[in-house]
Assembly symmetry: C2
Homo-oligomer: 378 residues x 2
Amino acid sequence: MAYRVGVIGGGQLARMMVPPAVHLGIEISVLAETEGSSARLAATRVGDYHDVDVVLDFARGVDVVTFDHEHVPQPVLAALVEAGVEVHPGPAALAVAQDKIVMRERLTALGLPIPDWAAVHDAAGLEAFLADHGGRAVVKTARGGYDGKGVRVVSGAHDADDWFAALADGGSGGALLVEELVEFRRELSQLVARRPSGQIVPWPVVETVQRDGVCAEVFAPAPSSAGRVADVADDIARTVAERLGVTGVLAVELFETTDERLLINELAMRPHNTGHWTIDGSVTSQFEQHLRAVLDLPLGDTGCHRPHSVMVNVLGGPTTGTMADRLPALMLDQPAVKVHDYGKEPRPGRKVGHVTVIGDDLDESVFRARAAVEFFTE
Amino acid sequence: MAYRVGVIGGGQLARMMVPPAVHLGIEISVLAETEGSSARLAATRVGDYHDVDVVLDFARGVDVVTFDHEHVPQPVLAALVEAGVEVHPGPAALAVAQDKIVMRERLTALGLPIPDWAAVHDAAGLEAFLADHGGRAVVKTARGGYDGKGVRVVSGAHDADDWFAALADGGSGGALLVEELVEFRRELSQLVARRPSGQIVPWPVVETVQRDGVCAEVFAPAPSSAGRVADVADDIARTVAERLGVTGVLAVELFETTDERLLINELAMRPHNTGHWTIDGSVTSQFEQHLRAVLDLPLGDTGCHRPHSVMVNVLGGPTTGTMADRLPALMLDQPAVKVHDYGKEPRPGRKVGHVTVIGDDLDESVFRARAAVEFFTE
């Protein structure tokens, strides 16, 4: 019988699981939030992932449930496990991804390198942290943030009063996360995949350039990372995957500090924007590897086709029309660029696609990828 | 607006158009012959492609109609064109692919190199051809043959009497094709893609090994083909594409004779088994290129990731169970092999999947690909 994977969430990550599923003969189905989702081709059901009955019904037709995002509530996850459904990553691992304070508690307990942090309940708590950290810090909401949302640099005790007020209203945990403002040379990302039975396979560590808190560009492998940086990043990600029991793809976003330490910034337990280059640049893409991992199939080779892969996001999309309208001009100009259009309506700041260029020269690949994206964003 | 491509036929060629459609943001839909077809994920309709109304209705939702096979009847194609539907390849080109005698007439008129041939109506005609060609020849039915079906080596005037009788009964053209038995060193295949507006882009010529008339293995590029062989193959395919007005992918199967000539064996006007290696081995796969070509989008780069790509078909499939059952053992043994499972029931001789290995050493890649396929066929 064919393997059957059900994906909760119909975003571009679910969409990009479709091609490797087609090739490997895996039956993929998607529980999408809306009609016309990015993953609509494989969407067998449209429904609310907060609704236990909807999710249980969706899960009946598949061998394993996995995710496009980390937002499925714990009671829904518990109901799936209770019903005997294979869920990867599992509820315990996802709990760590779902709450940034829980994440810091666990990473601290594991002795992993992270920025100084505290859970603060009010302006007084924030003031105390600021006093110990040079008067500036980063405040993050514990839950629900993504792509720069729910993240704010503060320099005064009252700079997060609105968020404290919202906490008091909503009562979601009752604390904000505050972290030291790290002086970093660059940001890195280490992806690994882990099977339930234990096998872990990494890709090379990559450099990621963020703009306004959103991933804009990725260089794979990270320039000048061979040796210590690659080894430490790999060690950190393996430790996180094993000790948190992550299954599927794990992304560990890292700061490389000006004093040459690697500190964990965030974790994601799913295919990740910083791994999109693997579709065109690696023997096994993160989407194929995620499917293999959640099915507990042996993991694939993660060698690279060429010395450099460069991924640039299409953020917002064209000022008029759609990516499709710009495709002919781009393809004429850049026949070797790989285009990925998520089938989403353009909207300022929205991730609507990406391009990848692979090659022997980093500078040329970067130039080509940036030039390609300009066709989609002007 | 997104581009919308409709594919008539739900086989593995339609199935393998789905991944590049997903990446490029092309809406793909398939008119399949049956429920549970290989391309079922994209099958928006199940119906008979001989039925003009079914095909016209299917075509209403797309920008261009293309094909998984060459068997759509000319009256149906004419009705599509009449209704203003873009059809690629078009009826005139497909007419040449649909009838092997028409094909030889056209190739002869173009002065292209082909084996000696004749259209014969009876045993006397066959006997005359045999007398001129050393007493042995190949007889082919003009229509409906594929994968070795409708092809027979004969050494006597009455060896095709059953086929002549069937012709008289059915009246489909009234002739069989007879060709000289070519002494060839090896078989080659030259794929190109051509846009309606004229651009043509080739892949490297490949060597193909046939067993029982079915493609079994492909080595890309063909060993020792750089230079004259590659140039001549490229010239032949370009000429065919231009002069027959082929749009989309064209495969030209060639004999490399013992006296170093290249002769055209057959043509296919669609993605072709001898191009499956491009999914994993080329910057632009034949399936992506076919979509680009039929939409008249600029064609992609056809460079290769590694010096050698080796494709081996999974013919028949496992003696018990399915390819999926054998996947764990294969993946454990060969993490770099790319597996393609067409989601079809195993049946003796049936093409149910293929594997591709890319690498720097041809012998090692061949060894690995063959070893991988053994997991699926024992």
